[in-house]
């Protein structure tokens, strides 16, 4: 009943702003308010369109940028959201505190853990009793491989009581340490506490893949994608699974989705190039791999695949060059990774 009332009120507001804008199309405030009403009604794409139109009139309006960032955030497009949050905070430093959690959440989604840590670390003292802060900070630390610091955050969360978020972080840590049984117990506990915790099913999917349980992985990724069709990890891995089955059309669909969440992600683009090669589009694979290597010269696998592409295209000397580069990079990586770990 209450929801219906709210929705009715939003619809009235939307109608009202639209009528006003017919008469005053250049009103930035009215368009901004229309965007806010649309966003409150869950019509994010329309809200984004209105904010964009308003920004054409006033490109440096931090409120508009903040709201547009929020709308992108709500639609699972962290890259677009982060760009707007960054700009809003740069234009209006008073917004910085307001956007810091949102921005670090975006960074975590984008795999930019170092950026998230840089934002969050200075706030640790002030936010030491903030559950959301701890979750974001713990995610960033573990994502960055700072496991000991991440574990301390987990302990802090659990000292306040049982928490799905803490269990998920714990499971992530254990998964990284190849403790699959331990990771499974933690992730299952997280899901039992909150079945809709973002990322929990994706992590279960990753764990299942690591254990070779691909059907279970598919089911877990499917559950994550049912909640969030743009979730990066699930789309990437569903694409990898489809590629393994040589269902290349499905693989492309998943990889495209993954690129929506993390535009230009090098790993996804590399997978796409492999699909191109496997489907006989060697020249397309070549272009994609050359671009990737241009941006990430140390991407050993890309050099290796590009070598094969060149050989297929009868470009022997190019192939030899890429092969030598791949070998050098892999040797360097092997030397760096030669620590003690289980296989």
């Amino acid at each position: 009943m209450l929801l219906a009332h709210v929705l009715c009120a939003q619809e009235d507001a939307i109608r009202g702003y639209r009528q006003y804008l017919e008469a005053h199309p250049d009103s930035v405030e009215a368009r901004s308010n229309l965007g806010a009403a649309l966003a409150r009604a869950g019509q994010y794409e329309e809200a984004i369109a209105e904010y964009d139109r308003a920004l054409l009139k006033n490109p440096d309006n931090p409120v508009l940028l903040l709201n547009l960032g929020l709308a992108y955030y709500k639609t699972g497009r962290p890259a677009e959201a982060a760009a707007r949050f960054e700009r809003a905070a740069a234009l209006a430093p008073q917004f910085k505190e307001q956007v810091v959690l949102l921005l670090s959440s975006c960074y975590n989604s984008l795999g930019k853990y170092k950026e998230a840590i840089a934002l969050l670390a200075p706030l640790e003292k002030d936010k030491s009793d903030d559950q959301a802060f701890d979750y974001l900070y713990g995610t960033a630390l573990i994502g960055d491989g700072q496991n000991a610091r991440g574990a301390a955050i987990i302990d802090r969360i659990l000292s306040r009581g049982e928490s799905a978020e803490a269990r998920l972080l714990q499971g992530t840590l254990k998964l990284g340490a190849h403790d699959y049984d331990g990771a499974l117990a933690e992730i299952e506990k997280a899901i039992a506490l909150n079945d809709r915790l973002p990322g929990a099913h994706a992590r279960l999917g990753e764990l299942s893949m690591a254990k070779g349980e691909n059907d279970r992985a598919r089911a877990a990724f499917g559950q994550e994608l049912a909640m969030d069709p743009d979730e990066f990890v699930s789309n990437l891995n569903m694409g990898v699974l489809a590629k393994q089955d040589q269902d290349y059309a499905a693989a492309r669909r998943y990889f495209d989705r993954a690129l929506r969440a993390r535009p230009n992600d090098a790993g996804v683009r590399y997978q796409m190039a492999n699909v191109d090669l496997a489907t006989g589009n060697a020249d397309q694979a070549r272009r994609a791999l050359e671009a990737l290597i241009g941006e990430s010269p140390d991407f050993a696998e890309a050099h290796a695949t590009l070598a094969t592409v060149y050989y297929r295209m009868d470009r022997r000397s190019d192939g030899d060059r890429e092969r030598a580069l791949a070998q050098k990079l892999m040797d360097q990586r092997d030397a760096a990774e030669a620590g003690v770990k289980p296989r």
Binding site: A177, D179, Y180, D181, M209, A210, K211, G212, E213, N214, V240, K243, Q244, D245, Q246, D247, Y270, Q271, N274, A278, A300, E301, A302, A304, T305, A307, T308, Y311, R312, G319, R323, M330, D334, E337, A338, G339, V340, K341, P342, R343
Partner: protein
């Protein structure tokens, strides 16, 4: 179209509905029965695991099927571990083992009489059987941590260690050798030897890896890569180490299984080496005594995602009967076994996905493996001896798998239908294919850490027909290793295979070339392209027999 399919799978009977399957009826399948317990022998695969996890303990129990006494029956040879850290076969439980096939379903332990106990050897791994001196008796090469050994078959039931005078014992100090394969790379009629090496290791340099107070077997990356070695047979029982001049010395890997085949159809044998956590190598024979590592060019260096998995066993046979040998390697749980389809001798296409191998294999940790037409339907199936590397996971002990080839395109898992003995879980390692009772159906011999080997006899009861070809070279090497066979059935079906004893991991199989013929009993022709270059064609060959074919003198 079958009549029930025309009815859409439904048939009205009386007042009720009767559902018919719209699938073809299941074919009759043979199953496997372990007969090892009928024989009196002491051998168990003993890696001396006593709590401390020495790196090589995961690899123990090589097996060879060979007819050492030329009585027409395949005998068995097993390698074994050693006491660690002493690295000596301090007592009988570590001795290697030769079992003579009595022909009545039992085997006699003749190791001591044959001189093959290996008391002076360290920890043994792979074994390769081949008649390197063309005297008509199969010899044995055994890989070790420590010096490798070449045993010459004296033809009287005994063997002599000829390592020193053969020159085959040369290898850099402390190199751990895993597998060997006999082949004639220069087609001079004498078998050469390729040895896959893993790393430099001694018990004293063994690394200890542990987490949370539990020791585990170290990741291979903590050990260095080394070159595989090629030995050229000079004749008169002498070999020359040509590793550096042949091109093998340039590539450093962690060698496991070796597969030999002529991948580009130029009449010269090439070499595929499966490497553990290092890209796989494909050495293409340049026909001048050198090889070019061409894994990248052929697309077999890495899997489809650019990953180097823990490749273990390897085999190269033509699984789709298109005339070109393909590659199959297995690896560990969570990875995907590699199946590569040879595209006309130019490159290989990754076929694990389309063939369903990716889905079927992901839960198994495979070691020895191979293509084998276990049911004689004319399509080579894929077998893998499985078991996890360590004992810490949920499913460490694993059963073997047999994925049945469906029309040369896809595979399906029929392991569960092959009998309880086939499905016994363990830490399986070595395996060899051999027709132990000469009934035309391949049998299996499988080692498992800490256990007696299984000698799995094929029930041979699905009514399919077969041909087993025993090649005898004259201008070519006497075993005929490398000879390419093309069989055309009476109905015009074409089947391909070649002579090799090297398949899987640490193992050596029956050298006789096996063809399953399905329901057919007639063979239009059998063409043999010998390594010497001569081509021999036999017409109207009768099926269901062991056919010895001797290469023409000219």
């Amino acid at each position: 179209m079958k009549w029930w399919l025309a009815l859409g799978g439904w048939l009205v009977v009386g007042g009720g509905w009767l559902v018919f399957s719209d699938q073809a009826p299941e074919p009759r399948r043979p199953h496997f029965t372990d007969i090892a317990s009928k024989s009196n022998f002491a051998y168990r695969t003993d890696n001396n695991f006593t709590g401390r996890k020495y790196f090589p303990q995961t690899m123990c129990g090589g097996v060879a099927a060979l007819d050492f006494d030329n009585d027409g029956r395949m005998d068995l040879f097993f390698t074994n571990g050693a006491k660690l850290p002493e690295m000596q076969k301090t007592d009988a439980r570590f001795y290697n083992c030769l079992l003579r096939n009595r022909g009545d379903g039992t085997f006699e332990d003749v190791t001591a009489r044959a001189g093959l106990l290996g008391k002076d050897l360290g920890f043994s791994f792979g074994v390769a059987a081949g008649d390197y001196d063309n005297d008509g008796f199969e010899d044995l090469f055994v890989c070790n941590a420590g010096p490798n050994v070449l045993y010459h078959n004296n033809g009287d039931g005994t063997f002599t260690d000829v390592t020193e005078r053969s020159g085959i014992g040369t290898k850099p100090k402390d190199v751990l050798s895993v597998a060997g394969a006999w082949f004639d790379y220069d087609n001079d009629g004498k078998l050469d030897l390729i040895v896959s090496n893993y790393t430099v290791w001694t018990p004293q340099t063994d690394k200890i890896c542990a987490a949370n107070g539990r020791e585990f077997y170290c990741h291979p990356k903590v050990y260095t890569n080394v070159a595989h070695r090629l030995y050229h047979n000079l004749g008169n029982g002498r070999f020359e180490d040509v590793t550096d001049t042949s091109g093998f010395g340039k590539e450093l890997g962690k060698g496991m299984g070796i597969a030999i085949a002529d991948f580009n159809g130029d009449g010269y044998m090439d070499v595929f080496v499966a490497n553990d956590t290092v890209r796989n190598f494909l050495f293409i024979n340049q026909k001048n005594g050198t090889f070019k590592e061409s894994g990248y060019e052929w697309g077999v260096a890495y899997d489809e995602s650019g990953n180097a998995g823990s490749s273990m066993g390897a085999d190269a046979k033509d699984y789709d009967n298109d005339g070109w040998p393909d590659i199959f390697y297995n690896n560990l749980k969570g990875q995907i076994w590699g199946l590569y389809r040879n595209m006309g001798g130019k490159y290989m296409n990754y076929a694990s996905g389309f063939s369903h191998l990716s889905r079927l294999s992901v839960r198994s940790s495979g070691w020895s493996n191979g293509f084998v037409d276990y049911n004689n339907d004319g399509w080579k199936d894929v077998y893998s001896a499985n078991g996890d590397i360590d004992d810490q996971g949920e499913i460490s002990r694993q059963p073997d798998t047999m994925f049945e080839n469906v029309d040369g395109k896809q595979f399906r898992d029929v392991s569960g239908l092959l009998g309880a003995d086939f499905n016994r879980a363990g830490f399986q390692r070595g395996s060899a294919f051999a027709d132990l009772n000469n009934d035309g159906f391949p049998d299996l011999v499988v080692t498992s850490l800490g256990e007696k080997p299984r000698i799995l006899m094929n029930s041979a009861d699905n009514g399919n027909h077969w041909l087993l070809v025993n090649t005898v070279g004259r201008r070519s090497n006497r075993d005929g290793i490398g000879a390419a066979l093309k069989l055309t059935t009476a109905a015009g079906r074409t089947l391909y295979n070649h002579v090799t004893t090297s398949d899987g991991f640490m193992s050596s199989s029956d050298k006789r070339v096996h063809f399953g013929l399905g329901a057919e009993t007639g063979i239009q022709s059998l063409e043999i392209r010998w390594p010497s270059g001569s081509v021999q064609t036999l017409k109207k060959v009768r099926a269901d027999r062991i056919l010895t074919v001797t290469e023409p003198a000219r």
